[in-house]
Amino acid sequence: MKYAFFLGCIMPNRYPGLEAAMRNVTGALGIKLLDMEGASCCPPPGVVKSFHKPTWLAIAARNLTLAEALNVDATTLCSGCYGTLKEANMILKEDNAMREKANKILHEYGKEFHGTINVKHFVEVLYDDIGIEKLRDFVKRPLNLKVAVHYGCHLLKPTRYRTGKSSERPKFLDELVEVLGAKSIPYRDKMMCCGAGGGVRSTSRDVSADMTKEKLENVKNAGGDCIVTPCAFCHLQFDIGQIEVEKQFGVKYNIPTLHYVQLLGLALGLEPQKLGLYGNVIPVDPILKKL
């Protein structure tokens, strides 16, 4: 199995531990990652798409051509990147006028969008391409943890640009957590946004922190050992966001946040250092002690 690995911004430039985890986990699973040399920001829906949709589509088209040149499907650990690339890929495949416009610009750089690949979030690769049962065989260290699964928004919605999974009561990520031996616990407003997206984090950090606090409170009340998310940006928001919540409200939650790929790595028996688990602002020691 081979995939083009789209890095984005948050992972390589703020949470490189997620990138290390991805490279080590895929190695253990026998998946080969090909780097998309020269890729840029996806760009995200909250900023560039909110400001000028044509620029958003043109840059996304350029990123997609890099994966096409590698002749494999693209995968990512960030739901924002996933949302942009997945949606742009569908628009460019289906809308001839949009594709011609994008290609007119790309031709100047010897590139062309052909529509030959698909974009898959890494959890889709695991769930759809590998499958729960096969994944079970890889588990070396079953995890005795109560996990609060945070799906986030852009992995699931808008459903017309996604894989048709329910956006109100999805199950696949809970299944991916439970196959590792952990328990996915129910908690209030599980499907609510982390608060970071839409450009809100950059302009109204107090509003973002207020949303994050509500989720943290709900996870705490449900007795979660940690939050597990499939998105690099949600990961950032729940990790560094806890410091912002503390500043704004004077409340300390200290709930460890793991990206799903890090949780998977632990279950595969990989060392925490190889999973970048010491790069979080909120220490993950309470989790490691439970293993």
Binding site: N13, S40, S50, F51, R62, C153, G198, V200, M211
Partner: protein, 182 residues
């Protein structure tokens, strides 16, 4: 005779073509809205701020162009798409909001922080560029110090910047090339 106390909206004083313009800008189905309020009820941002999706759409439909485009609340949507999934009329409110945001930026109502983030994107090809601390941590993790992106490849950054110029995005955000960005 006592005068009735009420606010009267004169339709001819509003921008009657605004809803049509929003539709063209990507909010195609704005006119399907029947003001049921499912969007507002579903909105995690509206739960804690004055942001009201239903009201925003109503004002846009009526033609309150400048009020809508200059309203900072327009930027409180996290694009969680809950309203888009739940809208019983298929208005796709998030698409309406994104269209309004594009129009707001075009009309010069861009927030300073958004100009800054966009500036990073233009300058580095990354809305969130790398810093010294992350470089060190990358090495400690066994990764390349610089990720294999526009950060590593000058030619790739030139391409991204070329596209950005071609699209007029640099002008739109007031990016100053001669100053190397703000």
């Amino acid at each position: 005779m006592a005068k009735p106390q009420r606010n009267i909206i004169r339709l001819d004083e509003l921008d009657m073509d605004f809803a049509e313009a929003v539709a063209k800008a990507g909010g195609e189905k704005i006119n399907l809205c029947i003001q049921c309020g499912t969007c507002t009820a579903s909105c995690p941002s509206g739960r804690r701020t004055a942001f009201r999706t239903r009201q925003l759409i109503r004002r846009a439909m009526l033609g309150f162009r400048d009020e809508v485009l200059s309203d900072k609340d327009l930027w409180l949507c996290t694009t969680c798409f809950t309203c888009l999934e739940r809208c019983p009329r298929g208005v796709d409110p998030t698409d309406v909001i994104l269209a309004l945001r594009n129009m707001a930026v075009d009309a010069g109502y861009m927030l300073d922080q958004h100009k800054r983030v966009s500036g990073y994107f233009v300058k580095y090809g990354h809305a969130v560029p790398i810093n010294e601390e992350t470089r060190k941590r990358r090495v400690g993790l066994g990764l390349s110090e610089i990720p294999p992106t526009t950060h590593k490849h000058k030619k790739a950054l030139d391409e991204v910047q070329g596209i950005v110029k071609k699209m007029g995005f640099d002008k739109l955000i007031g990016f100053k090339w001669e100053e190397g960005g703000k």
